[in-house]
């Protein structure tokens, strides 16, 4: 590494030799170590500028911008038609048990009436078969 090149590196990349192109880093460090006074003014100028850059505030996206960027992204295939089922939770077994209880209770209450109605129909059918006609219809026909 020649001195002119090191001055160029300082002017281009700043005071930190670790920022120099990798291939020239070792040579630059060796030359700086060998002649510290020669490069001190150039390094001081470069450090002032590096420090000014470090003081610049960071620029970060707002939450609104981040949300907009995410919202503009592609959606999963079929996302608009997905059937959203409620998640299984602790109350599901309880509601199932309640439905079962209600069903059994309704069955008990309705069964006698249904059974009575069913018996009446059976008797009517049996009479029609035995007599060959419907006695209820005949009584309606002969009624005045």
């Amino acid at each position: 590494m020649i001195e002119d090149r090191l001055f160029e590196l300082i002017e281009t990349w700043g005071a930190d030799p670790d920022a120099y192109p990798e291939a020239e880093r070792a040579g630059a460090k060796a030359l700086l170590a060998a002649h510290p006074q020669r490069f001190a003014p150039a390094l001081a100028d470069a450090r002032a500028l590096d420090a000014a850059f470090d003081r610049l505030p960071g620029i970060l996206p707002s939450a609104a911008l981040t949300a907009a960027l995410i919202a503009s992204a592609p959606k999963p295939a079929g996302a608009g038609f997905r059937l959203r089922l409620p998640k299984f939770s602790a109350w599901a077994p309880a509601s199932g048990l309640a439905a079962l209880t209600a069903g059994v209770f309704m069955g008990i209450m309705v069964a006698p009436a249904a059974s009575a109605a069913s018996d009446t129909d059976d008797v009517q059918a049996l009479l029609e078969q035995a007599l060959g006609y419907d006695p209820a219809a005949l009584s309606e026909e002969i009624a005045p």
């Binding site: 281009t12 620029i59 996206p61």
Partner: protein, 181 residues
């Protein structure tokens, strides 16, 4: 490692994986917004550029071929959008040139830290476009030489030339501010 991670996330983001989308946005939006803000000196316009950049990225994801790093490609898109806007500004204001005097560190500015920061920001923005972009990518965002050169579509030697000229201009302004104070 980051490159492999990018490829995996790009594939998942293209399929609409929300976690991959969020990850790409969180990783790259600060750099894109920072670059656009430094180039345009207008937060609203910089946000527009950032959104446009990501919309183009989402469109490109399904057919993405890793010829370049995703980060490089994204920054290049953003930079081109910034150049377009700067060109339109110049066209809409014919004959008006940037007022260089406003960007210099006046004596009273040099005494105040905040004003110095503001002056440096203004000075960066007043640099020629490519110098400003080179300085932002390398000195402020820490991109490698090769990546910055690829984003700017120049050789590493040309990048060095842009950087050296940019730093020389800024250093002169800093020194002028100091000696005038």
């Amino acid at each position: 490692m980051a490159f492999t991670s990018d490829l995996d996330q790009i594939a998942r983001a293209a399929a609409g994986d929300p976690a991959a989308v969020r990850s790409l946005v969180h990783r790259y939006s600060p750099g894109i917004l920072g670059l656009a803000t430094r180039m345009l000196s207008d937060r609203a316009e910089a946000e527009d550029v950032t959104q446009e950049t990501f919309i183009r990225a989402w469109k490109a994801l399904p057919g993405w071929e890793p010829r370049a790093k995703f980060s490089t490609w994204l920054h290049r898109v953003a930079l081109n959008l910034c150049y377009d806007r700067l060109r339109k500004r110049k066209e809409s204001l014919p004959g008006e040139l940037p007022d260089m005097a406003d960007t210099r560190l006046a004596p009273h500015d040099a005494l105040d830290q905040l004003q110095r920061v503001s002056a440096i920001e203004s000075a960066i923005i007043a640099l020629p476009e490519r110098q400003s972009a080179a300085l932002t990518l390398c000195a402020l965002q820490g991109h490698s030489q090769s990546e910055a050169a690829e984003i700017l579509d120049v050789s590493v030697e040309a990048l060095e030339s842009l950087l050296a000229r940019a730093r020389r201009t800024l250093r002169a302004q800093l020194l002028e501010g100091r000696t005038s104070a």
